[in-house]
């Protein structure tokens, strides 16, 4: 397996992304991938679709990959 070695740095090497859900900030560790077209998703692209619901739309196939209801 061809990977880059992980070095001990002061910065975390895990990819993190931040989603704003209402007045909360949710930190997403790792990588989100659209299951149908394999494109990487960005949690910052999470949008308010009303009724306290937040959705993450795949930019390539425009499918609703993830939806969260904030209560």
């Amino acid at each position: 397996m061809t990977t880059m070695p992980k070095f001990k740095t002061d910065a975390p090497t895990t990819t993190t992304d931040v989603a704003r859900i209402g007045d909360r900030t949710v930190r997403v560790f790792g990588v989100l991938i659209c299951p149908c077209c394999l494109v990487r998703l960005h949690a910052t692209a999470m949008r308010d679709i009303g009724d306290d619901e937040y959705a993450l739309i795949c930019p390539r196939c425009h499918s609703d990959v993830l939806s969260i209801t904030a209560h």
Partner: protein, 284 residues
């Protein structure tokens, strides 16, 4: 972000490229250990993604997704990076996989106990290095074929791209002889690429005879010196490409027939010792 002096002295264009590459690198997923997978050509990436997503992911699908992402990021700024279209590289991958499988099958076949016993029994009784020699030669030929097949399609593709790009210059006018040479070269390329399993590329307008015959005379505002220069260059490039292509074709046929002959010889002589081995075993 880039505090390095070397980076800061780059021009805006290079800075753009650098940013694009950096953002591309950030799109490469990270596994549970925090290691980044190598981009596009990693063979294990589809399997990894398939386990993540829960369905079968093909290499073409993964490459298409990666390409789409990179197009979004780079926005056409990077022109030198993609070497060939997806379907071509997929076909080349298929071809190389087939050859790799052939080689592994051959190696497994040679590791099969009856065959090994046969070969090495013969070697032991006769004190004859013939079998070892044959097996080694066969393996060497398989490796050569694999290596050649790994390099040939890409080389041909690049050569063809250069040739077609050269011939598709808007102000280029070919005479009858040059067009004939061009046609012959393109046909030879077609034949070779078809033999290698690479799909045929788009042909330029110079390939069509009837189309070019009715073509208008060169526009008067075109620089005649430039035209003469490009014609000479084209002729030189054509003869060079033709020579190389003939060499490639000769090499392909030579290696194929040599490997077939070696295989046939091995199979024939694999049958012969069986017949003459039993009396040998009975005599002591």
């Amino acid at each position: 972000m880039h505090e390095d002096g070397n980076v800061r002295t780059l021009t805006t264009r290079w800075q753009q490229l650098l940013d694009a590459y950096k953002r591309m690198w950030e799109t490469v997923p990270v596994d549970a250990d925090g290691c980044k997978y190598a981009p596009v050509c990693d063979d294990e990436m589809p399997g990894y993604l398939g386990r993540l997503v829960g369905r079968t992911v093909t290499a073409a699908e993964w490459q298409a997704a990666q390409r789409w992402e990179w197009e979004q990021i780079a926005g056409g700024k990077i022109v030198a990076a993609p070497p060939h279209p997806a379907e071509v590289s997929v076909r080349i991958d298929d071809y190389q996989d087939a050859l790799r499988r052939l080689t592994s099958c051959l190696v497994r076949l040679l590791g099969h106990p009856p065959i090994t016993n046969l070969a090495f029994a013969d070697y032991k009784y006769n004190e004859d290095p013939y079998w070892l020699h044959t097996l080694g030669e066969l393996e060497a030929r398989a490796k050569l074929m694999l290596e050649f097949a790994q390099q040939a399609p890409a080389t041909l593709y690049v050569m063809r791209g250069r040739l077609e790009g050269f011939a598709s210059a808007p102000d280029l006018v070919m005479d009858e002889a040059t067009r004939g040479a061009y046609r012959a070269t393109i046909e030879a390329l077609d034949r070779t690429q078809a033999a290698l399993g690479v799909p045929l590329a788009e042909r330029s307008r110079h390939f069509e005879m009837k189309h070019v015959r009715g073509a208008p005379v060169p526009p008067p505002e075109a620089d005649p010196e430039l035209q003469r220069m490009s014609k000479d260059e084209l002729r030189a490039a054509l003869s060079d490409t033709r020579t190389r292509l003939e060499a490639v074709e000769t090499e392909i046929s030579r290696r194929t027939s040599a490997a077939a002959r070696a295989l046939a010889g091995m199979l024939v002589s694999a049958r012969e010792p069986l017949a003459c081995q039993q009396p040998q075993e009975k005599t002591p």
